[in-house]
Symmetry: C2
Subunit: 206 residues, 2 copies
């Protein structure tokens, strides 16, 4: 299977701002498809079902697993998260890029079944900045916050499985950086055929 368009996985520690980064990217690239994850977690006050996540019961999540309708799923901080398979496959088949904002475990599972996926790890500029962002978000109590920082350290160790890293310091810069990586991947010779080369098959090694 070869995609000229991309399956892009964006991961990074809780609080790094990957959700905001992805939202801003999608505003600039409405031609891409943003996957909406299924989760058993309770919605945060500002979250909308069908936009941020599909909030479902554990029983319903279980039915998705059993009927193999999830591309990947994982337990994160005690809640289940999964990526519905059909809309991602439909987006890719219709020539769109599919963007998945998922955790590191999910990212590795996607890479396993779709080796052409592009995995991007979003880093904070510093550890201290990550702590500040989590505190500012104010959705965790101190012990939950500490736990998220410890999990972040574990996640950092998995960066070696990712293709690229990005620093999310200034949001607009990080969005532009993400665009550069997407551009570069779309110009990898192994992904594309250029009409200039229609005479022979340039992608078959001579």
């Amino acid at each position: 299977m070869r995609f000229p368009n991309l399956l892009v996985v964006i991961s990074g520690p809780s609080g790094v701002g990957k959700g905001t980064l992805v939202s801003r990217y999608m505003e600039k690239h409405p031609e891409s498809y943003l996957s909406i994850s299924l989760t058993t977690r309770q919605p945060r006050p500002y979250e909308i079902c069908g936009k941020d996540y599909y909030f479902v019961s554990k029983a319903e999540f279980q039915r998705y697993i059993e009927s193999q309708r999830l591309l990947e799923w994982a337990e994160v901080f005690g809640d289940l998260y999964g990526t519905p398979r059909d809309p991602v496959e439909e987006a890719l088949q219709s020539g769109k890029d599919a963007i998945l904002e998922i955790d590191v475990q999910g990212g590795l599972r996607v890479k396993n079944c779709v080796p052409e996926a592009v995995l991007i790890f979003v880093l904070p500029p510093t550890r201290e900045e990550l702590r500040k962002r989590l505190m500012k978000r104010g959705t965790e109590n101190p012990s939950q916050l500490q736990h998220r920082l410890e999990v972040a350290e574990i996640e950092f160790k998995y960066i070696s499985y990712y293709d690229y890293y990005l620093i999310n310091d200034v949001l607009d810069v990080a969005v532009a950086d993400l665009e550069k990586i997407v551009f570069a991947e779309k110009h990898r010779v192994s992904r594309v055929r250029h009409p200039l080369l229609e005479g022979g098959d340039p992608l078959v090694r001579p």
Copy 2:
């Protein structure tokens, strides 16, 4: 051997404008090192020895080959071209990117001895545009021009060995596109260590 900085090879058919592209890139990135090739070809009226090429005799070129002072060399349109090894290695060791504007044969030889090299193939927007550019340059007679176009067709078949392709339509766009590819390659996890991760070794697979 792992370079955090890059060895970038830029190739493409005669007349595609890779020289202009590379010059403009270097104006914007004087921190990079541009390799100056050795050649036995006669200088064109506007070319300066030590800036565009080192113009040398066949005997001197032969001495470079024998003393293994060339990273790669090849015969192109009856003339010899080669990349002096020492300045490229010095640039890389001092943390600079090294940019090589060389032909396809040379590019493949560099990739063989430096697998981390990033190979970029510059394409014209159309075949017709390539012919126009060669005619406009006016340095070849009609039969030489025809020969260059035939060689271009052969070169296109080697694009599969390259990492990226770029279309040189509008020069400033092509320069920006080259910058995007360089940015992306510098953010490949396999190339770098980020200070955030100094606690463990994130690049050793857990």
